[in-house]
């Protein structure tokens, strides 16, 4: 840094900055005449749906599952048009993205798919655009407090984790299972707990080690966690992070079993892959699209504000069983699947203790999947080694 810039600086810099901004616009203007193809037109009954993802669309995980769901809807119905934006942070940026989708692209239905978009961003926009319907993934809609054009949808994918737990317990030789989570939040805790309860339903002595990496995508930490668990004699790994690829591949390298999440990861671990909990957003999004096409909406209540579902409602599916899964394990898994299908299965059936010994579900209680209490889970059940404190 020298002192030569001290003089002659102010005016030049300011003019420069000013012009930079205007020129930016003017040069861009040259192109204005050339593109009128976008937007506008289309059939009268066309539905424009906007999808917003927090990360890249192709992460082999959370965002990809949603993006594939969106693509599935376009394939099924020719009256659906989608607009998509990926890598939108949970700041004012998402508000502006939603606004552009509505104002510029004419979207009337929005699917902002990251949990953190909900409060305050979606709530703010929903008040501003009462005619646009906002479907948010994972949040909890509160009747009366939140605008009527907002809905929240999520699947009981912990049912799939329960079945994966059954398969894992049958396959494990050491009786030690491992779960790599991003953060100790209810959605993750519920998966860990259901996985463990499933495992302990067939072998009560099985334990699950939980490790939290601290963030949704930290490949090096996830690989370290997987290796540490393998070192501790854990022989089945599953996870709840944005992109499970590294966990599956590390497990395969270490010669232990793995159970997938978000999407089908069989190809990553041909020997050790047992099964996996996969989202089926295509069926969910298609259902919503059809409802809207049929003239239903959130505002008059013809589409419910809380959309939840499990296997029976088509929110999730199970990966094909891998080669290491025994007949006995398959039988038990299929039996549980059938029980989920006919609604007779209740995972959180008292008495359930947490791993500090406190009772979290009373003996008299039987918490059905739809129970909102389960969406506020803040404990790890007996049999999980780990802590919810960060």
């Amino acid at each position: 840094m020298s002192n030569r810039k001290l003089l002659h600086l102010s005016r030049r810099q300011v003019i420069r900055g000013l012009l930079a901004t205007t020129a930016f616009g003017i040069t861009a203007r040259f192109g204005t005449g050339c593109s009128s193809a976008e937007g506008g037109g289309g059939a009268t009954d066309q539905v424009t749906m906007g999808f917003i993802y927090v990360g890249p669309k192709d992460d082999y995980g959370y965002n990809q599952a949603h993006a594939e769901g969106a693509a599935g809807v376009v394939e099924s119905f020719d009256w659906v048009k989608i607009v998509e934006e990926a890598s939108v942070p949970e700041t004012t940026a998402v508000e502006e993205s939603m606004r552009s989708m509505i104002d510029i692209d004419g979207a009337t239905v929005l699917f902002p798919t990251s949990f953190g978009y909900f409060d305050p961003h979606i709530l703010k926009l929903a008040e501003e655009y009462p005619d646009v319907q906002f479907f948010h993934c994972g949040g909890l809609y509160q009747e009366g407090t939140h605008p009527v054009n907002v809905a929240s949808y999520f699947g009981y994918i912990d049912e799939a984790q329960y079945i994966a737990g059954i398969v894992a317990a049958h396959t494990s030789k050491t009786g030690k299972l491992g779960f790599i989570g991003a953060k100790p939040i209810p959605q993750v805790l519920r998966n860990i707990n259901s996985f463990t309860l499933g495992a302990r339903s067939v072998k009560p002595e099985v334990t699950t080690q939980a490790i939290f990496t601290g963030d949704w995508a930290l490949p090096v930490k996830e690989a370290e966690a997987a290796n540490s668990m393998a070192d501790q004699g854990i022989d089945v790994l599953t996870c709840h992070v944005d992109s499970p690829k590294v966990v599956m591949e590390t497990a395969e390298k270490r010669g232990i079993f793995s159970s997938g999440y978000h999407a089908d990861q069989t190809a990553l671990a041909p020997k050790g892959y047992l099964t996996g909990a996969e989202w089926d957003w295509t069926s969910v999004y298609s259902k919503i699209a059809e409802d809207i096409h049929a003239g239903k909406n959130l505002m008059d209540g013809s589409i419910p504000h809380i959309l939840r579902g499990g296997l029976a409602e088509g929110f999730w599916k199970l990966s094909e069983y891998g080669p290491a899964v025994s007949e006995q394990a398959k039988q038990d898994a299929e039996a549980a699947k059938a029980a989920f299908m006919d609604g007779s299965m209740v995972i959180y059936n008292g008495e359930i203790k947490d791993n500090t010994g406190a009772v979290v579900v009373e003996a008299s209680q039987s918490l059905k999947q739809q129970d909102p209490v389960l969406e506020q889970m803040n404990y790890l059940v007996e049999g999980v080694i780990g802590s919810v404190a960060s």
Binding site: D58, D59, A217, P219, E222, A223, S228, D231, S390
Partner: protein, 308 residues
Amino acid sequence: MATEALGWWGVPLAIAAGMMRGGTPFLFVSLGECLTEKSGKINLGLEGTLLMGAMSAYAISYLTGSPWLGVIAAGLAGVIFGLIHGWLSQQPRVNDVAVGIAMIIFGSGIAFFLGKPFIQPSAPQLATINLGAWSSLPPVQSALQISPLFLLGVAIAPLMHWFFQSTRWGLFIRAVGDSPEAARAMGVSIFKVRMLSVVAGSFLAGIGGASLSLYYPGLWSERVSSGQGLMAVALVIFAHWNPIQCLWASLLFGGAQALGPALQSVGIEQGYYLFNAAPYVLTLLIMIITCSPKRTLSGAPGALGTDT
């Protein structure tokens, strides 16, 4: 597959393994940065180079089936980025820190853009050298699966030290970094020396990227580096611009990445965010202890951070 539990022994083992696996990218990037900074320029853009290296290595390995071609491609990608940085940061009135940050954005943008089709497929990985065959314990065997890239890095560190101390070219680089006027008097072209240093440093950083995508964690994703390229800049200062100490520092930083998960796996559950920040706190503390206004940091290139 009967694995025995290691208990508390798992922590030192995980750290030792983490040093070698997770330390490799740090090693290459820090050696590259060390070379660059010795010539008097700083290259914060190595984060972008690391990502570009990781992406190109994975893509080429997948497309050709040869991971070593991937490593070469990563190095070449590094060379291209190095040329841009080396040329741009030596223009008059252009600050190298600013160019570095612009290169992080540009480099990661290009890597993400071109890398989209390669997130899903599995590319052939570099074969490892298994030194753990003597042990019957699978964890030990796994920890001793050493990457040839790690060995290469370990070999380059003393070589670079020797290069700086005992060769004519090493002297030129140090002269250019320490006092450009003296170097100019010696008849050395400052532009050329810095250009070559930046390009060679960037080449090494590209190889570091290859170690991320072809060895550990062994995949291409947009979050694969999570700031390791930027960290390497701090690491060089931690190592006092000494390539051999870069090696130790890289091992330390690599091991630190394994600390949080390893402690959780033996039951220390809380404060993992703080454990994850341990390397940064440690570097800062060491800087505070070893720096002093009375003398300059030993090994610090005199022209670093100046506009000369």
